[in-house]
């Protein structure tokens, strides 16, 4: 429980600095510091039991289905790292309090820092691999915020993005690796994974899993070839660099290697990859560290180099190497954090971090100078400091391996070379800053506030005490840590003096060689100048922007914005999907007998086809094409009549005419001539696609029509009169069996009306002042002949529509057709007499009419509830009145009334609105 609390505290505590954001800087820092202190106390509380060999664990289920639990453990390795994270974290918080300027948002800074601290703690204490990955990605995210803390600087923004991209990508690889491991082990809990170690190493997926995990670790720890993001992350405020890029985040990769060493380590692949990558990183980092003129750049590359060193030790994987690795992790964290803080102090006090400008600061900042000398000496591996001890152990291991047979001597030689470079840049760090000759600096240098030096002082003191008395200081810590990496009963023995042996010689050579290299550094600088080394940040930004542009271009090729192409894609997909299925059909023609053809049907078919082709051929003359379409519509309705579907025929007819009217209305606003825009190839393509789609649909239709058919329609025929109370099955289906569909469709109509109204509201279309041949419009708006006839038509049409409506339940007709007939008659009035004329006589809100229609239909449906029946359950009875005789009343007629009103309301709303728009905006050049 305390363990979980320890990890959770920084996350919860991250809110604290934000809450006191508007208070003084001191309060904010105290709030952040308090969180770290409490966590540290919790760790202290747990430490004795860990040192005694126990492993406190915490388990709460979160997502058992995925094997993801909130599970923490505090073994030796976790303890070592947790102590580093919290201890150095606390020092950083103190240091940052003085480092940040008044303009910086300290609340945000500390909140992010605490988030990061919690994430790191999570990584090192996670007892579940997925949970580990969870915190792993959180460190990427929180470090993104920290690196980008000074986001007004371009460097910070780009550095942050690059760090996120590289470590984030590594995290994704790690996830894949972890999932592979978990699948092999059957669990993500560390104990289970450790138990399955042999099975994992023997599994065929071991190598991919290893590679993926290593990519994760190497990106995080800035190992070659992923090292390039780290120097650019130095755009972060120095406390962040000191914390993330020396003591913690970059160590996460190392931690992961150590954590999974018992599972993945010890194999040939592990050894080869990890060792060589470590070696390469060490040399690469050391070389570039020496070349850097930026103080933090130097430290960044030196960090890369030291991380390489640790990686290499983990790769070697012997007992001694693992001990050396753990020991060096501790040592590196202490001296490198100290060095970063010193760099921050120098930057803070002088305003510059450039080694070429700095110099002679020993007088102004004597104490800082001493601290710098101690910590750099530790970095260089000078005896009596902690760095010396771990480096000696490293030399021993490098010398003792025999992994490349006869060429194994390469490794100690290269290692010594790396150590020389390390000595050289350590000297440079001290000498160029504090000695050398003084230059003009942006600020007058002086010692920083005492509390800024105290954290460094503590770290420097640790360097010395550990260096002198390693067994007293750290063996207690290292024993359990080594146990958890190397297995049971690990023994820790660190000696100050091993006698005169080869590793000592290597140390001596390194020191001497380092001094020589430092003295000859100008030669090296000149040599290096021959290479055109581009800034990784620019390269990264260049790659990102090039890839972005590439994607953008590619997408513009895929999405040309051409509707024709999108349509083509749709229909080609139809062909690709359906044609293979149809090719499986053995006989298209089914077993049904076919009807004879008569002359009328034949001529009807000829007209139908001719008109359909005509509509396409004449598509550049819009009105002609429309007229062709209306012939098609007419013929289709005749076909319906021929095959005894009068309802359908009537519906088809009215819908046909009303939609043609609508299109003629719209035609007014369209360009009168259509330019010939399609190339021959396009036309051929379109003809092919259209032909094939038509052929496919036609074939299927033919296949269906020639097959015997039994369906639910038999039920409708049988139940129309007894169940629905109507002899016109079509109408009973519409208003009863499937009345719900009809309700949906009239809703669609009402929506369409509202939608068109909405569209027209915003539209100010162009209106031509003459016809296609440029002739001016005719002067007479409303010819008298037309007016007279149309007024006669109205009452007749209304009567017909009432008749069709009322008889609909038993004979062809119904609300839908009746509504359209009424609407058509009304439209005729609009055409003949104009909008204003109609408005004077029939001023009704069509929108409300449509809404009322749907409302009546819906309320009819809800009315069934009163009788305890389901929505839209119909009810009918027969009444026998004198004179009138026997007749039927049904709730369905109420529903049909709703349909009727909706159709009228919606249709007129669309057409009348269209007309009204032109009346409002028509250019007045005709004197009427």
């Amino acid at each position: 429980m305390y363990l979980a609390l320890m990890v959770a505290l920084p996350f919860l505590g991250a809110i604290a600095p934000l809450l006191v954001r508007h208070h003084s800087r001191r309060t904010i820092s105290y709030a952040a510091g308090a969180v770290a202190v409490v966590s540290l106390l919790l760790l202290g509380y747990l430490t004795p039991s860990v040192l005694a060999g126990e492993v406190p664990q915490f388990l709460a289920t979160w997502l058992p289905q995925l094997g993801l639990h909130v599970a923490f453990r505090l073994d030796g390795l976790s303890l070592l790292f947790a102590a580093l994270i919290l201890g150095i974290g606390l020092l950083i918080i103190i240091y940052a309090h003085f480092y940040l300027s008044q303009h910086d948002d300290a609340g945000r800074f500390y909140a992010c820092l605490l988030l990061f601290m919690g994430s790191m703690l999570g990584i090192v204490t996670a007892d579940n691999l997925i949970l580990l990955w969870f915190f792993w990605e959180l460190t990427s995210i929180s470090s993104f915020l920290l690196i980008g803390f000074w986001f007004h600087q371009s460097n910070a923004r780009r550095g942050a993005r690059m760090a996120l991209a590289i470590t984030g990508a590594g995290g994704l690889a790690l996830l894949a690796g972890i999932l592979l491991i978990g699948n092999i082990a059957g669990s993500y809990q560390l104990d289970a994974v450790f138990a399955a170690a042999d099975a994992i190493r023997a599994h065929s997926l071991y190598v991919p899993a290893l590679l993926l995990v290593l990519i994760g670790a190497f990106t995080k720890s800035a190992q070659f070839p992923f090292q390039f993001w780290l120097p650019h992350a130095m755009a972060a405020p120095t406390p962040v660099s000191a914390y993330l890029h020396s003591a913690t985040m970059v160590k996460a990769g190392i931690f992961l290697l150590a954590r999974l060493f018992p599972v993945l380590g010890g194999t040939f692949e592990w050894f080869t990859i990890v060792t060589l990558v470590g070696l390469a990183t060490m040399l690469f980092g050391a070389y570039f560290a020496l070349l850097k003129n930026d103080l933090k750049g130097l430290l960044a590359f030196s960090t890369i180099s030291h991380l390489g060193l640790i990686t290499m030790l983990l790769g070697l994987g012997t007992h001694g190497a693992l001990l050396a690795a753990l020991f060096h992790i501790l040592n590196h964290a202490t001296f490198k954090a100290g060095l970063f803080m010193i760099a921050g102090i120098i930057d803070h006090e002088t305003g510059s971090r450039d080694l070429r400008k700095l110099g002679g600061l020993r007088k102004a900042m004597p104490m800082t100078m001493w601290l710098a000398m101690i910590t750099s000496a530790a970095m260089a591996g000078v005896p009596l400091l902690n760095g010396f001890l771990s480096k000696e152990m490293f030399f021993t291991e490098a010398y003792q391996q025999h992994l490349f047979g006869g060429l194994s001597w390469f490794i100690p030689v290269l290692v010594t070379l790396g150590a020389m470079l390390s000595v050289a840049y350590s000297i440079r760090f001290v000498y160029d800053v504090f000695f050398d000759k003084a230059h003009e600096l942006p600020k007058q240098p002086h010692e920083p506030p005492i509390m800024m030096r105290v954290p460094v002082l503590i770290l420097a003191a640790l360097c010395i005490t550990v260096g002198i008395a390693p067994m007293i200081m750290v063996s207690g810590f290292l024993t359990p840590a080594l146990t958890s990496v190397a297995g049971a009963d690990a023994e820790v023995y660190i000696a100050l003096w091993h006698g005169f042996n080869l590793p000592l010689l290597m140390s001596v050579l390194a020191l001497l060689g380092g001094i020589i290299i430092y003295l000859q550094r100008t030669e090296l600088f000149n040599f290096n100048r021959q290479f055109d080394i581009r800034d990784a940040k620019d390269v990264f930004a260049g790659i990102v922007s090039r890839v972005t542009r590439f994607c953008d271009n590619l997408m513009q090729r895929i999405e040309t914005g051409s509707l024709q192409r999108y349509m083509a894609a749709l229909f080609i997909l139809v062909l690709v999907f359906v044609i293979p299925e149809l090719m499986n059909i053995s006989a298209l023609t089914g077993s049904r007998p076919q009807l004879d053809v008569d002359a009328i049907s034949l001529s009807g078919a000829i007209i139908l086809m001719a008109a359909a082709f005509g509509a396409v051929i004449f598509h550049r003359q819009r009105l002609t094409s429309l007229l062709m379409l209306s012939v098609v519509g007419l013929m289709v309705s005749l076909v319906f009549i021929q095959f005894s579907a009068p309802d359908l025929a009537m519906t088809q007819l009215v819908v046909e005419v009303v939609s043609i009217l609508l299109m003629i209305l719209a035609l007014f606003f369209m360009p009168q001539r259509i330019p010939r825009s399609s190339t021959g190839g396009r036309v051929a393509r379109d003809i092919l696609i259209a032909g094939f789609v038509g052929g496919v649909v036609g074939s299927i239709t033919f296949a269906l029509l020639t097959r015997p058919f039994s369906s639910i329609s038999d039920y409708f025929l049988a139940n129309s009169v007894p169940g629905g109370g109507g002899t016109n099955v079509v109408n009973v289906i519409l208003v009863d069996f499937r009345g719900f569909d009809t309700l949906g469709e009239i809703t669609v109509l009402a929506i369409a009306a509202a939608g068109i109204h909405k569209l027209l509201n915003n539209l100010r279309p162009f209106m031509p002042s003459g016809d296609v041949d440029g002739r001016a419009w005719h002067q007479v708006k409303h010819p008298m002949m037309l007016q007279t006839i149309s007024q006669l038509v109205l009452p007749l049409a209304l009567m017909v529509s009432m008749y069709i409506f009322l008889r609909g339940h038993n004979l062809p007709g119904g609300g839908f057709i009746a509504g359209l007939v009424t609407a058509a008659a009304m439209i005729l009035q609009y055409m003949a007499n104009g909008v204003d004329w109609v408005k004077e006589r029939f001023n009704y809100n069509y929108q409300s009419l449509a809404a009322i229609g749907v409302l009546i239909a819906s309320l009819t449906g809800v009315g069934s509830w009163l009788f305890g029946a389901n929505f839209l359950t119909s009810w009918f009875t027969y009444l026998d009145w004198p004179i009138v005789g026997k007749f039927e009343i049904a709730t369905a007629i109420l529903f049909d009334l709703g349909v009727y009103l909706t159709v009228i309301g919606a249709t007129l709303m669309i057409l009348a609105n269209f007309g009204q728009m032109t009346t409002r905006h028509r250019p007045r050049q005709e004197g009427h």
Partner: protein, 89 residues
């Protein structure tokens, strides 16, 4: 007798429809096409009435009535479009 007459009428109206179609395609003017369309409507409704007589039913009369009315409205709309561009104003 009536059967023969009806058959003859069916034939003639079918031919008339095909001729209408010819006019419809040949044009040459939009006016010709509108007129052709109107005639197609009329001939179709004639065919429908004949069909009703053939089957001895009044079932088709409503449809014929609708064709008559809607054909008229369609023709008016097309004519008005030629005249004024805007059919509802």
């Amino acid at each position: 007798m009536l059967t023969t007459v009806l058959q003859f009428a069916f034939f003639m109206f079918s031919v008339a429809l095909l001729l209408n179609l010819l006019r419809f395609f040949r044009g040459p003017d939009l006016l010709d096409r509108i007129l052709a369309l109107d005639t197609i409507y009329i001939n179709s409704l004639a065919l429908l009435i004949l069909l009703g007589m053939w089957h001895h039913t009044s079932f088709y009369f409503e449809a014929a009535l609708l064709i008559a009315m809607l054909g008229f409205i369609g023709t008016v709309a097309a004519a008005k479009f030629l005249l004024r561009g805007d059919i509802i104003e």
